[in-house]
């Protein structure tokens, strides 16, 4: 798999974090890639989150061999030795929202993956304790999905717009 640096327009010079490296990988090769990145020196998991692209209005720029799906799991890794960050983006389809858990490589993903499960409903295979972490355990629905309403309570005498 080749590294594809995705340039952001006129990255602000004072950030001094350099060009942000982003890697796209198909779901089947995800665990292997994370293993390889650990071996290369990215020992620290900064962040693991997901995005729901259901109502995305722009154009999704993905490499040719990656099929765009509804969900995308985004993992940010950091190497203390190389002073570099790298981002891995994996597409997860809606009908079978499952992906391997990287708990065996990065134990710090435990809380992050639980949160993604809670908020998006993506199941992480191999996670030791995949239960809801932020919402009550018997809550129905996954709040950060785009088809889950904000559940705004209508306020008297206020004509402020906003979804219900």
């Amino acid at each position: 798999m080749s590294l594809e640096p995705s340039d952001l327009k006129a990255l602000n010079a004072y950030l001094k974090q350099g060009v942000q490296d982003v890697l796209f990988v198909p779901r089947e090769k995800y665990l292997a890639l994370m293993s390889k990145l650990y071996d290369v020196g990215f020992h620290f998991l900064s962040d693991l989150t997901a995005v729901d692209y259901l109502t995305y209005k722009g154009k999704r720029e993905l490499p040719a061999d990656i099929k765009a799906e509804r969900f995308e799991v985004v993992v940010n890794l950091l190497s203390h030795a190389l002073l570099k960050r790298i981002r891995v983006r994996v597409q997860v389809p809606e009908d079978l929202a499952e992906i391997d858990s990287i708990f065996s490589i990065f134990p710090s993903c435990e809380n992050f993956e639980r949160e993604v499960y809670d908020m998006f409903g993506i199941i992480f295979k191999g996670h030791p304790d995949l239960t809801r972490i932020l919402m009550p355990e018997d809550w129905v629905g996954h709040p950060l999905r785009k088809d889950y309403p904000v559940s705004r309570v209508p306020v008297h005498f206020k004509e402020s717009p906003g979804p219900l």
Binding site: A10, K57, L144
Partner: protein, 419 residues
């Protein structure tokens, strides 16, 4: 896997909340060693917010534990998708409510990365000044609550007394004591008030003197030392495995500080030391934090000398609202003001991750924009969310009485853990 690695995974009590609720009073005594599962919190005397910890006890000794969070979940990431980029700082600032300016800073840095704007130098230095003052006030608050948890109510009163100095300066500059909404995309909301140098000098002169007082009556005090030395030790490899950052990581001996290793703003133009501990116990964390206050004072003194003159906001009419007086004179200014505050400014498509060093660790913001005036996805990587994963490893084989001291030395802020 080495012994260290295996150990921390066995410290976590894998029991879901529904199972814990369903346990009968007789069933709480399980296992051959007659262990007992006891609930601590979410409302308990330790002043660290609504954190619930399920403890598996053998007598007074903690074997395994599990922190349960979610009692302050506010749906801020969902709210962030409904607010425009200008309004976003008001939402994000309430996550880590002890260092609100840091939250606003990371959010604004992410927006500016996507926008591709270059900030004027004065804006950068003002942001640095506010960020460091916030670090001092957050650490003072930690000193106060940690002292209280360990038993010293005097420390609580003293910590708040110093903090009031800084909050008074914040109120003068930003208008509010907390949750300021001061750092906005494009710069800061208002310039520093006249006479700010004198106020900051007073802060810089008073705080080190008071810190000497604390050194006298806390650091050398036998009760304090007994309660904190050797308690809650965390090894460096375990810390990195569990995603720990901030003073917790530095106390274990790893010299990782984003201000030094991956500098943002103008941190490469000021001199300061990265404070590192040796053993990784609660006393080391206390030492790291109290010395970080001293380093922050050093940075602030340098900012006082080097503060450049100029604009405090980028002069792009599409991003920065015009001054209020101009609205009466110019139609264009009125239209820009209207557009910015009702519709908001549009940010080009893209995604980015930006991280800064907050008083608790690596605070990151992952933002996805779809070209409209609202973020498509705004995720904040909260340092306390990851740091809490080290709690079971730290609590293992300690007594229940130490649990409060350990949780307190971790310095979790539940607002950012639960978002």
């Amino acid at each position: 896997m080495s012994k260290v690695e295996k150990d921390h995974r066995q410290s976590v009590l894998r029991l879901s909340e529904t199972q814990a609720n369903a346990l009968d009073i007789d069933e709480t005594i399980i296992g051959p060693g007659e262990t007992m599962i006891v609930n601590m919190g979410p409302q308990h005397p330790s002043t660290h917010g609504v954190l619930r910890v399920m403890l598996e006890l053998e007598g007074e000794k903690i074997l395994r534990s599990k922190p349960v969070i979610g009692y302050l979940h506010t749906g801020m990431e969902k709210t962030g998708e409904e607010l425009t980029f200008v309004q976003g700082a008001t939402n994000v600032t309430r996550m880590d409510y002890l260092s609100p300016l840091n939250n606003e800073l990371v959010y604004c840095l992410a927006v500016e990365t996507l926008l591709g704007v270059e900030l004027p130098p004065r804006a950068i230095w003002i942001r640095m000044l506010m960020s460091e003052l916030n670090r001092i006030s957050s650490h003072l608050m930690w000193l106060a609550t940690n002292g209280m948890d360990v038993g010293s109510t005097t420390m609580m009163i003293f910590g708040f007394r110093e903090r009031e100095l800084i909050l008074a300066f914040f109120e003068k500059t930003t208008g509010l004591r907390m949750n300021h909404n001061y750092i906005r995309p494009g710069g800061v909301a208002a310039d520093l008030p006249d006479g700010w140098e004198d106020d900051v000098e007073v802060i810089c002169d008073t705080i080190p003197v008071r810190l000497e007082e604390y050194d006298e009556f806390i650091t050398g005090q036998p009760i304090f030392r007994e309660r904190l030395t050797g308690v809650g030790t965390l090894a460096a490899e375990t810390a990195i495995e569990l995603g720990v950052t901030g003073p917790l990581l530095r106390a274990t001996g790893v010299p990782w500080d984003l201000r030094r290793t991956m500098p943002y703003l103008a941190y490469d133009q000021v001199e300061f030391d990265v404070v590192v501990g040796t053993v990784g116990d609660a006393f080391d964390r206390y030492a790291v934090r109290i010395n970080e206050i001293r380093e922050s004072v050093k940075i602030i003194r340098q900012i006082l000398e080097k503060m450049p003159k100029g604009d405090y906001r980028v002069q792009d009419p599409k991003i920065t609202p015009p001054p209020r007086a101009r609205i009466d004179e110019s139609m264009e200014a009125l239209i820009h003001h209207f557009k910015i505050f009702t519709e908001g400014f549009r940010v080009p498509e893209g995604e980015c991750y930006v991280a800064i060093e907050s008083p608790r660790g690596e605070l990151g913001c992952y933002m996805v924009s779809d070209g409209s005036a609202k973020p498509y996805r705004m995720h904040i990587r909260a340092p306390s969310f990851a740091n809490l994963q080290s709690l079971p490893a730290m609590l293992r084989d300690h007594f229940v009485a130490d649990a409060v001291a350990i949780i307190s030395s971790l310095d979790p802020v539940m607002g950012e853990v639960d978002r």
